[in-house]
């Protein structure tokens, strides 16, 4: 076998057949799945709709922007909010464990990644600089359809508040 023949397998991988098949397969899959994008691995949004409740964790006092966000989410999902109050840390753990769907809480601007949950954009900011306090929604990590819905509405609430 010659050197040229030896490298033929590598050349085959650079050839047009494999990429073409891959591209056709990917495009077909994308078109077929377009309206399902993104889906929740644990069906968070579907569960909220079928259950008819959004399980919320929040401190006793929440700002008006948080109430506005909840009203929007209730309208979008057709579910009503079932609120649990308490300390923020256990509530965030409850989101991580899948026991509640959402926490709305104040986070310090310089430590937003203190939770393993997904965080929405801030709906309200108190103070300035790195020490500013931002009110955000925390959702279970990876539940991308539910996260996207909360994020879009959080942006709109924040936009109206400005």
């Amino acid at each position: 076998m010659t050197e040229a023949a030896k490298i033929e397998p590598a050349r085959g991988l650079h050839g047009t057949v494999v990429p073409r098949i891959a591209i056709i397969a990917i495009v077909t899959l994308l078109l077929a799945a377009c309206d399902r994008f993104p889906s929740d691995p644990e069906q968070s949004l579907e569960s909220i709709r079928s259950r008819g409740t959004i399980r919320l964790g929040a401190p006793e006092n929440i700002p008006p922007e948080a109430s506005a966000l909840l009203r929007r989410l209730e309208k979008e999902t057709g579910a009503r909010t079932l609120r649990r109050s308490g300390e923020i840390e256990p509530l965030l753990q409850a989101v991580e464990d899948g026991d509640i769907d959402l926490v709305i809480a104040p986070f310090r601007k310089d430590t937003p990644s203190a939770t393993a949950n997904a965080l929405s954009p801030p709906i309200r900011t108190d103070g300035r600089g790195d020490k500013a306090i931002e009110w955000r929604a925390a959702m279970p990590s990876g539940e991308n359809r539910w996260i996207s819905l909360v994020e879009v509405n959080a942006r709109q609430v924040a936009g109206r508040a400005k």
């Binding site: 050197e3 991988l13 994020e151």
Partner: protein, 321 residues
């Protein structure tokens, strides 16, 4: 005793120098497109682990072309000196080793990352971004970036292979493999993001793990070949750590012409050097190229044949200790 040298890094045949310059131009384009890919991918990284790994891989993809350009420049322009009496032909071999390590590291990194994501059952968050007044799922942008990241390496990798073959350049060949790794990772990344979009949190890690095996395999093969060159092993094939066809044929030719002699071949960059132990050079000397068993246009690869006769007062041929 040493026969006249026919090829050195500074005196490659003109057609080969032209090919080397073409390869250099291609590598400049490679670096340009890779930088654009690194920027585009960096803008849409998000929290996806696969995207981050693909971005690191794309960045590591700069190592082989940069190593090639440095090696080619030194090979063409670096002159022999008191400090470097043999010139800089072996810079290519050093670059090949660096590129091989980069390729293997990429595969290992990707494999580790995928395995950890699977073991920890991490669910990657891919949310939305606001772009031109519209809320867009970041996954669409990631898919677009991955598509873009696939195109240049696919084209450049294909163009590099024939040049690497003509130049007998393992560094360039490894860069072609790196480009293959890059576009395959792009395909795996797209499959992964599509999987995430469908709610299959494990999809990107599984796809990436499959691809990373292939990349790691290529990298380890290249490390074996490059270390063989650095420790004066018999010349290896372009795409395999097995002894090259040309070296096998040369060995057979020299054994036939100089029966009873011990033949040793080694590689300095793209050139092959032979030592014939236990006999004197024939008189008149027919020329180094005359010993090349393959096509005449490839005879430049045989840079030198050294004859090491047995010294009468020593039991071993000179230079074997």
């Amino acid at each position: 005793m040493s026969a006249p040298t026919v090829t050195t890094g500074e005196t490659l045949p003109p057609p080969l120098l032209e090919t080397l310059k073409r390869a250099e131009r291609l590598e400049y384009w490679n670096i340009f497109w890779t930088i654009t890919i690194v920027i585009v991918m960096g803008l849409v990284l998000g929290q996806s682990q696969t995207m981050k790994t693909a971005w690191i891989e794309d960045t590591l993809g700069l190592v082989p072309p940069i190593a090639f350009l440095i090696a080619a420049k030194m090979e063409r322009r670096g002159h022999k000196s008191h400090k470097f009496p043999f010139g800089f032909e072996r810079v290519n071999g050093l670059g090949f080793f660096l590129a091989a390590v980069a390729l293997a590291a990429t595969g290992a990194l990707l494999l580790w990352d995928s395995a950890m994501t699977l073991v920890k059952a991490e669910h990657a968050t891919v949310g939305t971004v606001r772009l031109f007044g519209q809320d867009i799922w970041l996954g669409w942008l990631m898919i677009g970036a991955q598509f873009y990241a696939m195109i240049p390496p696919m084209i450049i990798g294909r163009k590099e292979l024939p040049l690497a073959e003509e130049l007998a350049d393992k560094l360039l060949h490894t860069d072609a493999l790196m480009n293959k790794a890059n576009w395959m990772t792009g395909a795996a990344g797209i499959a992964g993001i599509v999987g995430l979009g469908l709610g299959w949190w494990w999809a990107d890690s599984v796809a990436a793990a499959f691809i990373s095996f292939d990349i790691l395999h290529d990298g380890l093969k290249a490390i074996r070949s490059s270390t063989a060159e650095l420790v004066d092993g018999t010349p290896r094939g372009l795409s395999s750590p097995a002894i090259s066809e040309e070296a096998e044929a040369l060995q057979a030719m020299l054994e036939e012409r100089y029966p009873g002699a011990s033949i040793r071949l080694r590689e300095t960059g793209r050139l092959i050097r032979a030592e014939v132990h236990g006999c004197h050079a024939p008189e008149p000397y027919p020329g180094t190229a005359d010993h090349w068993p393959g096509k005449v246009e490839r005879s430049w690869r045989l840079a030198q044949i050294s004859f090491v006769p047995v010294e009468s007062n020593r039991s071993e041929p000179e230079g074997t200790r």
